[in-house]
Each structure stands twice: as C-alpha cells, then as structure tokens.
Amino acid sequence: MRRSDTAIASLALLIVWQAAALLLHNPILPGPLQVLLAVVRLAPGALGRHFVASAARVLLSTAIAVGLATPLGLAAGQSAGLNRLISPIVYVLYPIPKIVFLPIIVLLLGIGDLPKVVIITLILFFQVLVVVRDQAASIRPELLLSVRSLGAGRLAMLRFVYLPATLPAVLTSLRLSVGTAVAVLFFAESFATTSGLGYYIFVETWTRLAYVDMYAGVVAMSVLGLGLYFAIDGLERLLCPYLFLE
C-alpha cells in the first residue's frame, strides 16, 4: 500500500466523519477536530495511561503466543507423529470462538492483567500454530536435502531454513488476527478491571456521558489496532526483503 493512498483514505474518512457530525448536530457525534483536541488534552493523563495498559497487554500476549506456538508448530510440521497427536486437538479447538471462554477465565484468574493476556494469547496461539505447522510441512524436500548435504545440523536447519521459511507466515497470521485481538481486548477490559482503553471507554466515559472523551478513547483504540498492523507490515519489510522485490 502506498503512503499517499493511505493518507488520502484517512482524509476521506475524516471528511465523512465531519460531514456526519455537521448533519446530525448532536453531542453524541462530535466532529473530528473536537475529538482530536480531546486526545491531545487527555493523552498525558488518563487516556495515555489506559493506552499503555492496553498496548502492553496486546504486546505481551503476542510475544507469548508467538513464543509458544512457533516451536510447537515447527516441531509438528517436521514430525508426522507429533502432528498426528496435536492435529485433532487443534481441529476441534481452532474454530471455537475463544472469547466464550472469557467468563471462565475471569472466574479462574480474577481481575487484573492475567485473564486479558490469557484470552488474547489463546486466540493468537492457534492462528500462529496452524500457519507455522503448515508452512514448515510444505518446505520443498529438495531445499531441505540440499542444505542438509552442506553439513547443516538441527540448529543450522532451524536458523537457516525453518525460521526464515515460516517467518512471513507468522507475520501474516498476526496481521490477520491483530484486529480480533484488539477487539477481544476491548471487550475483556470493559468489565472486572480498572485499567485499559476498554475500561476507559465503557466505564469512565460512556457511563458519564462524556462523549468527546469517549471518542478520544475510541480513537486511541483505533490507533492501537492500526499501529500494530503497521508495525507488522514494517517488520515484514525489514525481515523479509525478498518478498518486496521489484
């Protein structure tokens, strides 16, 4: 996606928003400028604190999910025996919307950061596991043999073949699931907690009818999702330059 295209799309959205605000002329839909000023005003205080709390939860969950799912996916992709063992489990668990476990997780783990991190980790874990496994299993045997013939041991195969071969798939799965992760975080933070953007939007502003501040929270949550998406894009360009050749 070209930068100029992204900028034009953002501008168009802002114009539609402004037009809707003017037409509706009601405090429940403030205009973008008003909200932007609120973001600037609130960012050093409550909004910034809740943003950091939410971002930390997503980043930590992502790190844990990738850290757990990648080795397991690589192992399952290489070992038919292990794959036979975990495939049926994944097959059953993968399509279940993990968010339905949220009440149980909250009951078991209480309030605080842990249940949020666990639910997001759970969602990302299966996404990453499935793509890493499939990718590791689909590496051409010729490639594996030719690198092995150079004298590569297990570590060298991992470092020079399996990790670089699966990296694009990991990043793609994260890009596809980061939106879900932020959405689930929003929901998970809307009760049984005192920090995070979900809490800020639902409890601190929505219930107080502080519309402009609530919109500032919505913008912050959108920025979080967009920022993660762009960060993954940037990582892919940095780590997989061969995918972006002219």
């Binding site: 051409r140 010729e142 490639l143 043999l145 030719s146 690198v147 092995r148 013939s149 150079l150 004298g151 590569a152 041991g153 570590l155 060298a156 470092r159 020079f160 073949v161 670089p164 071969a165 997989c240 061969y242 050749l245």
Partner: protein, 253 residues
C-alpha cells in the same frame, strides 16, 4: 575416491530394493555420468553418496571415509535440479551457506567468505551477489548452486540433473562450464542425467542403472567426454546410439 560395496537399500514400505548387493568404484579425478530409466535409483544413489540416506547394509566410502549412516558427507557437495537455493537469502548468503551452516551461531569471518567470493567471480556471477534467487535466470541460479558447492572445496561433486530446469542455450553454457571446471580442478564428478547426449558429453565413464533391483554394474566407457566439439562428430553419435541400445536392453522385460 568413491567405493560402494554390497550396497542394499530399499525405501520403507517397498518390497523391491533399489540396490541389492550393488558394488561400484570411482577413481580420483574421474568424471562419471549416471543414466537409467526413471525410478531406477539414480537420485537415490547420489543421496546415498552424500550421506542423506542410510543404506540397509553394505559399505559406502567417499575420499576414504565411511559415509554410510553418519549424516551428511563432508567430502561430497551436492547440486540439485532446482530449489536448492534459499529463496530468502541473497546470492552472497547462499554462496556462503555451506561455510555458515557448520558454525550457525558464529560470525562468518572474511576468511570463510573468500572461497565463496572466488567461486562467484570464477563463475561470472560476482556482480549478482546482492540479488535474490527469484531475480535470477535458471542458468544463473545453477551457477550460484555450483559456487556454493565448490566453495566447500569438496573431493567429490555430485550433480542431480543439474541442467534439466534451464533452457537449451543456458544448458549448453552450463555443460561447457562443468567440463572446464572438471578439466581445471580435476574434481571427481558424478552427474545424474536423463539425457543420453549429456551423459556422453560429460561422462568419461557412464554408469547405466537398471530398473530395480540393481545388482550388477553396467559401465559404458567413453573417451570423448569433456570436449564439446565432439558433439557434431560421427563417433559421438555412434556412442549415443550405443548407450541408447544399452538402455533399451535394460528396459526389456
């Protein structure tokens, strides 16, 4: 240089072994080609020599060292038909790969890269070093694969249909290159091919494999190998016919 004695090898789950009491010998500096019907075990033989497959019984030694079942053979370098290069690594990183995989977490020093650089220059692809495989032609890719193999300074060069995925002109170019390398370095080569012409062009001695199980060895001697000008010679055509007859004998039920 290569000694195979009483080799027995079968793929798991297959009742007919590919090799059954197969013995074969390659002297230092010889250029061999291996030909036979598809499924005859040409590629399997190379994998066994490279230490990538473990024989069920028998002995294989390369450069005096036993390779059977000890993992990849350090004295043999393997070049495959295609897909042997890492798509995510540049030409330079691919060419150094053999040197790097032996110390995966160390820093690849300049001394280790000198061999790779030498061969990239020698094969005329040094200016491509920052390109990725997808940006190269088939012929250029195989040159990189050759440079990577030669940078390891192998005693034996094993080539598995190395030119069958490139167009006719690039193929002739690569054949010429292999002949020159063989003449200059005297590296022992074993080249698997399905082309009778290529077998005669590049093989001082030609190993003809049967439909499995391979028990005895059929060898066609060929003093014309290594000179591309023979291609138009009547003797060359006669040798190709001889080899074709050998192959059709093999294919008789």
């Amino acid at each position: 240089m290569i000694e195979v004695s009483n080799l027995v090898f079968a793929y798991p789950g297959q009742s007919t072994p590919v090799f059954d009491g197969f013995s074969w010998r390659v002297e230092r500096g010889e250029a061999w080609t291996v030909i036979g019907p598809s499924g005859c075990g040409k590629t399997t033989l190379l994998y066994l020599l490279a230490g990538l497959r473990r024989p069920d019984s028998g002995r294989i030694s390369v450069g005096g060292a036993d390779v059977a079942g000890r993992g990849p053979c350090a004295d043999a370098a393997l070049v495959l038909q295609d897909y042997g290069l890492l798509p995510w690594a540049t030409v330079w990183d691919n060419a150094r790969l053999g040197l790097r995989v032996r110390r995966p977490y160390g820093r690849a020093g300049d001394g280790l890269g000198a061999q790779a650089q030498f061969w990239l220059e020698r094969l005329g692809i040094a200016e491509l070093r920052s390109k990725y495989p997808s940006q190269l032609s088939g012929g250029q890719r195989q040159r990189v694969a050759l440079a990577r193999a030669l940078a390891m300074d192998p005693a034996v060069l094993l080539l598995d249909e190395p030119f069958s995925a490139v167009d006719a002109l690039a193929r002739e170019d690569l054949e010429r290159l292999v002949m020159r390398l063989w003449a200059d370095t005297g590296v022992t080569t074993v080249l698997v091919t399905h082309s009778i012409e290529e077998a005669v062009l590049l093989g001082q001695r030609i190993l003809v494999l049967n439909r499995p199980p391979n028990r005895s060895v059929t060898i066609v001697e060929n003093h014309m190998a290594g000179d591309i000008s023979f291609r138009a010679h009547s003797e060359f055509v006669a040798k190709c016919l001889e080899l074709r007859e050998q192959l059709s004998d093999v294919l008789q039920p």
